[in-house]
Amino acid sequence: MSKNKTTGHKAAHSSQRKKEVEARSCIRYRCGLTNTIQDVLNHRPGWVEVKDDAEWDFNWCDVGWLRENFDHSYMEEHVRICHFRNHYELTRKNLMVKNLKRYRKTLEREVGRLEAAKCDFFPRTFELPSEYHIFVEEFKKSPGNTWIMKPVARSQGKGIFLFRKLKDIIDWRKDGSRSEEQKDEAQVESYVAQRYIENPYLIAGRKFDLRVYVLVTSYIPLKAWLYRDGFARFSNTRFSLSSIDDQYVHLTNVAVQKTAPDYDPEKGCKWQMQQLRWYLTAKHGFETVQTLFKEIDNVFIRSLLSVQKTIINDKHCFELYGYDILLDQDLKPWLIEVNASPSLTASSQEDYDLKYRLLEDTLHIVDMEGRLTGKEKRIGGFDLMWNDGPVYTDVGLEALGSSCLVANTHLGCVNDREKQLQQLLKPFPGQKKT
């Protein structure tokens, strides 16, 4: 990994950015969604919404709009849009698996087994129908294991089911249990079959997964930020392998939980990441949890590196990913999936506040106002995780003296972003510093 030696480039970057920004007195934005992001954009000083065919400087669009319009839009230097053209290389389950497998092979060839093993955070996955035969081979190797079938392009838990016998999916392939909706679709839908993690880490008998936010502002070179806040989503019912038909037990998406019979919207099924980290520390001790979170960082970094050469890099693009991570009983993190459009709708006031802060800080990093130098390692609740190479905190180097390097990520740690932002950022043009 090359170290970041392009400081000259950075200085040029920030002065150029300033030039880009100076000309404008306000920032025109387009927003295709009607949830939290709408509020954040609305409240940002100097930002004005534009609609229809008007020219825009910033676009928070949905992936549908992107697909239809990106290729036909001309974007000036300063313009920013919230997706990469072919983000689906990372977010579609079959493509992600393909890219990760390829990257792993490259690592094994070029560096060695140990390094390649760092990519083993993805459960064995096969694309169907194309990889059906190798899937069957693997399936037969370990009889009795549970597998999960997921449609490649859907979200919110739709179309997912569990199975243990080949017979179950042979029946399914014969259109036995597919819904009307699916039969009408012109295209053949791809699925992935994935080894189901049968020993998830449970808290009080309940399964949970983690939602973590990662912001990528560039793929070449790779620059990624990790947000300190996030949450753990609990399944409303107790985990047991005996009832694989009960999708409410196994799927922890809030969207699915909302339809479960004993779902009580008053009852939160979420814990803040800080709460989870604190709980795990109380149970397993500081060092174990420190190691766990390092391994989680590894999941983000490797998955992004695996698509680095495939994603069409474009300086206009940035993307806020929602990573879903599952922990098993040995405290090993597994990557479930990556979302390019993580839900920004809030399920509670607390949830709204979290997403508001997250989006606000995202906009700070995108820096339409040109207030940053480009050298920052932390902006609000985001810590710079990868900058064409690993990023280390300054504290580690000073206090310990020796070559003990501490990673610059703080997932689940204290998020005193307001204080940090006050010290870091100049006020908006026309706004007095409070």
Partner: protein, 526 residues
């Protein structure tokens, strides 16, 4: 009055009596017998050699811890001719008030039982027993119809009783003078003021490091945190109960807290403890008690609706249902002003009524009771371990929060202390609140009764409970209540009604307890 040496020998006798026949005793005997086989044991110096071996293998330390634990629950020494009630509570009027409160609660329980036509206790049919055994780990999924059950009492009912307490020996003047007490508690007890507390709680002072203050992100860990954790690890490896208690005064590191608390409380998870728990579980399976429904209702209303604790719902049932049936808890009534409630139950032959303790552990749960257990779920996830820790915490501390007594950690003293501190150090605020009909205790009482569980964020709550264990007293709870008022004084001065005062103090989840305590105790001018 006994002199000190007599007191000491009485205590020693009592402790020896209590430890005789315990599992520890038989283990020590076994160990002593086994080490006779060792070559280094010589007949001439048998006693010393055996002692040495037991010390080296850690058994002396275990005995030390057990003795230390007994000292905590030993009733205070009294006059040899004083009746046993005196040990429970020396002030007659308090004892009487507690007895009449108990009568009321029991009456309420019995009338609920008659109204609903549900027996106080009922043997479960075999089918039901099987079902419950299968469901043991997920009782929270049950949705029984609890609409007819009401909690036997809520903290505010208890507050009214405390407000009505009067010492028949004092002359009361109804005129409000500067010297009179402005608060609701109208009895006089000896409570500490700030100068006295500065001595008692010296380790919370500004020159000592604290977890909850000096482990903040901006403070470099080498200043205090790293060293403190290092010492904590040593304390745990030494397995020294007394040292752990002293250590806890400056806070327990998150990663060590479970072990440290267990050490301070001297709770073990030996096969004997697990068996005891399993026996209690068996009792739950065999019999249904009316109070079980009260427990269900309480958990559903409080812990299940809490953002932090909803996950642990199942554990709470597993602990509280067993707790109700644990007759070992009855022991604590020796030093509790309360007495176990007795109910009439048909004897087996059906011909007579006999009085039995009901529920078996003598503790009738009230609204919010499950919140004593909930925070512990963050530290212990084996039910038997969680159970042991909770039970010990209950019989050392929590029981004092809902029985009327003159004990310095009793609820009456805590309320009085809160009011006195507030009146002495924030008189303007107290006066203002009184004038607008917002007596401070009406707001703070619910925090005190629950030792702040459910009001503070969990990490802050456990830092507070570290100090309760460290100082072996609930006094710090009263101090925190005052400190909270002090912190929000500015806003409270602006309110004009009880409702708005409640609103200002409704959300304590962002408070950091140690800075508040430290500032109040050590930076208030006196």
């Amino acid at each position: 009055m006994m002199d000190e040496s007599t007191e000491l020998s009485v205590s020693i006798t009592q402790i020896v009596q209590r430890l005789k026949g315990t599992h520890l005793h038989s283990q020590l005997e076994k160990q002593a017998k086994e080490c006779l086989h060792k070559p280094e044991i010589k007949l001439e110096t048998l006693k010393d050699d055996v002692r040495r071996v037991l010390k080296a293998s850690g058994w002396e330390r275990k005995l030390q811890n057990a003795v230390y634990r007994e000292l905590h629950v030993l009733p205070p020494p009294g006059h040899p001719r004083a009746p046993p009630e005196h040990t429970k509570e020396p002030l007659a009027y308090m004892l009487k008030a507690q007895a009449s409160w108990e009568k009321r609660i029991l009456k309420s329980l019995n009338s609920m039982c008659t109204e609903l036509g549900i027996p106080l206790a009922r043997k479960r049919p075999v089918m039901e027993q099987k079902e419950l055994t299968n469901k043991w780990n997920e009782m929270g999924t049950d949705e029984p119809d609890l609409s007819n059950f009401r909690p036997v009492y809520a903290p505010k009912d208890f507050l009214e009783v405390l407000i009505g307490l009067r010492n028949p020996n004092t002359e009361r003047s109804d005129d409000l003078t500067v010297k009179s007490h402005w608060g609701l508690i109208q009895v006089s007890l000896n409570v500490h003021d700030i100068p006295q507390m500065r001595e008692t709680y010296a380790e919370l002072g500004l020159s000592y490091g604290q977890l909850g203050i000096d482990d903040h992100t901006h403070v470099p860990p080498d200043l205090f945190e790293s060293e403190h954790i290092h010492i904590g690890k040593k304390v745990v490896s030494e397995q020294d109960s007394a040292a752990a208690q002293q250590y806890s005064r400056q806070g327990c590191p998150t990663g060590l807290r479970a072990q440290l608390w267990s050490l301070i409380l001297n709770t073990t998870n030996d096969p004997e403890d697990i068996t005891h728990y399993e026996q209690l579980k068996a009792r739950v399976i065999h019999h249904n008690l009316l109070v079980d429904n009260l427990i269900y209702k309480d958990v559903k209303l409080t812990a299940s609706n809490d953002d932090y604790y909803f996950v642990f719902e199942d554990y709470l049932y597993q602990v509280l249902l067993c707790f109700s049936r644990d007759t070992a808890v009855l022991e604590h009534f020796n030093y509790n002003s309360a007495s176990p409630p007795k109910s009439s139950i048909q004897s087996k032959s059906g011909s007579e009524q006999c009085a039995v303790v009901y529920p078996p552990n003598g503790v009738i749960p009230f609204h919010g009771f499950s919140m004593y257990v909930a925070p512990l779920c963050f530290l212990y996830n084996e039910p038997s371990k969680l159970y042991s820790v909770f039970r010990e915490m209950y019989i050392r501390y929590f029981f004092r929060l809902h029985s009327i007594s003159s004990h310095p950690s009793g609820i009456v003293s805590l309320c009085l202390q809160f009011e006195r501190l507030l009146q002495a150090h924030l008189p303007q605020l107290f006066y203002h609140l009184r004038e607008i009909g917002a007596q401070p205790l009406r707001i703070a009482f619910k925090w005190i009764v629950r030792a702040f569980s459910g009001y503070l964020s969990t990490d802050q709550l456990l830092l507070l409970w570290d100090r309760i264990l460290g100082y072996n007293s609930l006094e710090i709870v009263a101090v925190l209540a005052t400190a909270v008022f002090a912190f929000r004084a500015e806003n409270l001065m602006e309110v004009t009604s009880l409702a708005s005062a409640e609103a200002v103090l409704a959300d304590l989840s962002t408070l950091k307890v140690m800075p508040l305590l430290q500032i109040f105790l050590f930076a208030t001018s006196i």
